[in-house]
Amino acid sequence: MTTAHPSLSPDEIERLKAPARRERIYRILSYFSPLLLLLLWEVAAQVALIDRRFFPPPSAIAGTAWQMIASLELFDHIGATLRRVWVGYAMGAIPGVLLGLILGLSAPARRVLGPIFAALYPVPKIAILPLILLIFGVGDASKFVVIAIGVFFLMFYNTLGGVMQIPQIYLDVARNAGATKFQTFRRVALPSALPSIFTGLKLAAGSSFIIIAAAEFLGARSGVGFFIWASWQTFAVSRMFVGIVVISALGYLTILALEALERHFVPWAKH
């Protein structure tokens, strides 16, 4: 741990490295802070602050979850949901980032397409669902599309916002160094907008799981969202909460993974 250094005493090296080490430990501990929520809920249910018929305590839910894990019933649902989220996420994030970069760097594109996206964005997805079903069928394709739409706008606006914040000097350097339009995208706009892009990626990750939960209410026979809905329809409250906790946990883990990626890809920023 305490590497030698020509001019520093081991004690000084120790003190120098302590903050980084502490930071790492704190971070790992902090991953567990959401357990506080469960604790709060458990207590509230135990002292009958909340109605157990509708909000069974986490301990009761854990029992149900255990049975379901044992019967492997949950894993198929999780697999189906993850697959849909992954595909939809990629389908939305890639064009979102690309168009954000393009509109961010090109004033004419921004002028023509900007208002079009602004007008399309607030179109209520739930209202156009029948249309999506019409075009993409009742299968998984329409679920991918619903997620992709949600993800797209988050990525688009966050990337655009990030690109618009790029200090002019970086673009000047790129231009002076002889960067092509594409190289400016790839080598300057993209990395410079990375912090904003990561904000978008995290928001989009959370949103994907929210959206898939809603989308699996329609025309699905698998997936955690379907499972939640089916449980609620049959008033299987504990099972429903297992589903809610599972989908939230999936979202949470995705966000944590993105934060780890961010620390890796944006090493120059504070975290």
């Binding site: 000097i169 970086y170 000047d172 350097v173 002076n176 160094a177 002889g178 190289q183 080598r187 990395p191």
Partner: protein, 268 residues
């Protein structure tokens, strides 16, 4: 680039052939639409730079030096006048502001112009190593800019501008944040490169000493809105010895002349 590069210009040989940069009646103003306010940055600027010449520009703060250089680099549009650049390659620029990319390491920053051109990794490494050695940054090759001091960042910019060996160098106070020792070393290196390669250099500085040490000619600008008020030939033969030069009366005469010109119409 909004710079007119007439075809004949390229084929040299004519009477004025040797002029690589020609600025005629340049006027540049900025307009702030939200305040409906016009800031005149430079008026009626005229000068030419011959091929292989080393020219320094001095002038009071805010007089338009950076603006002129940015126009030469094609980064800013002129309002009226004419600018002619006669070069096969775009001028390389060292910017006055901090301009290293925070997401790249020092050596990646220096290699940036090369990497855009698809130079092989091996070649890039070699050339970058040279320039890091030149600017005394070898030890910090893998550091990120936020781990550097102000002067070190400036040296990265200089290394980056030199890395791909362009014909014209536009340098905006490139050594402003450096101590005299480091500055001296880099001045010497710059002169060595300049003499060897025959580059054309336009160099903005605030130090009259520096201008007289480096330049063939010193252009003096008036306060904002800047215009060229003098074009002084620096008579010392090269290589110049900093200490020797100061013993020469002409050095002090020139220094005094520049000071007098700069003090003539103080900005405040």
């Amino acid at each position: 680039m909004n710079v007119a590069v007439p075809q004949e210009g390229r084929t040299s040989g004519s009477a004025e052939a040797a002029s690589v940069i020609e600025v005629r009646n340049l006027v540049k103003a900025f307009y702030d639409a939200s305040g409906d306010r016009i800031t005149l940055a430079a008026t009626d600027v005229n000068f030419t730079v011959r091929r292989g010449e080393f020219v320094c520009i001095v002038g009071p703060s805010g007089c338009g030096k950076t603006t002129v250089l940015r126009i030469l680099a094609g980064l800013e549009q002129l309002l009226s006048g004419e600018v002619r650049i006669d070069s096969m390659t775009q001028p390389a620029m060292v910017f006055q502001e901090a301009s290293v990319f925070p997401w790249l390491t020092v050596s990646q920053n220096v290699a940036f112009p090369l990497s855009l051109k698809g130079v092989s990794a091996q070649k890039q490494r070699e050339r970058v190593a040279e320039l890091l050695a030149l600017t005394g940054l070898t030890e910090f090759a893998d550091a990120h800019p936020h781990q550097l001091s102000g002067g070190m960042k400036q040296r990265v910019s200089v290394a980056r501008a030199l890395v791909d060996d362009r014909d014209i160098l536009l340098m905006d106070e490139p050594f402003g944040a450096l101590d005299e020792q480091t500055r001296l070393t880099l001045q010497q290196e710059l002169l060595r490169i300049w003499e060897r390669t025959g580059k054309t250099v336009v160099f903005i500085t605030h130090s009259v000493d520096e201008a007289l040490t480096l330049a063939d000619r010193v252009l003096v600008m008036s306060p904002r809105p800047g215009t060229m008020v003098a074009d002084l030939l620096v008579p010392f033969e090269r290589p110049r010895d900093v200490v020797e030069m100061r013993r020469d009366k002409r050095f002090w005469d020139l220094t005094y002349e520049v000071w007098r010109l700069l003090a003539a119409a103080p900005e405040h």
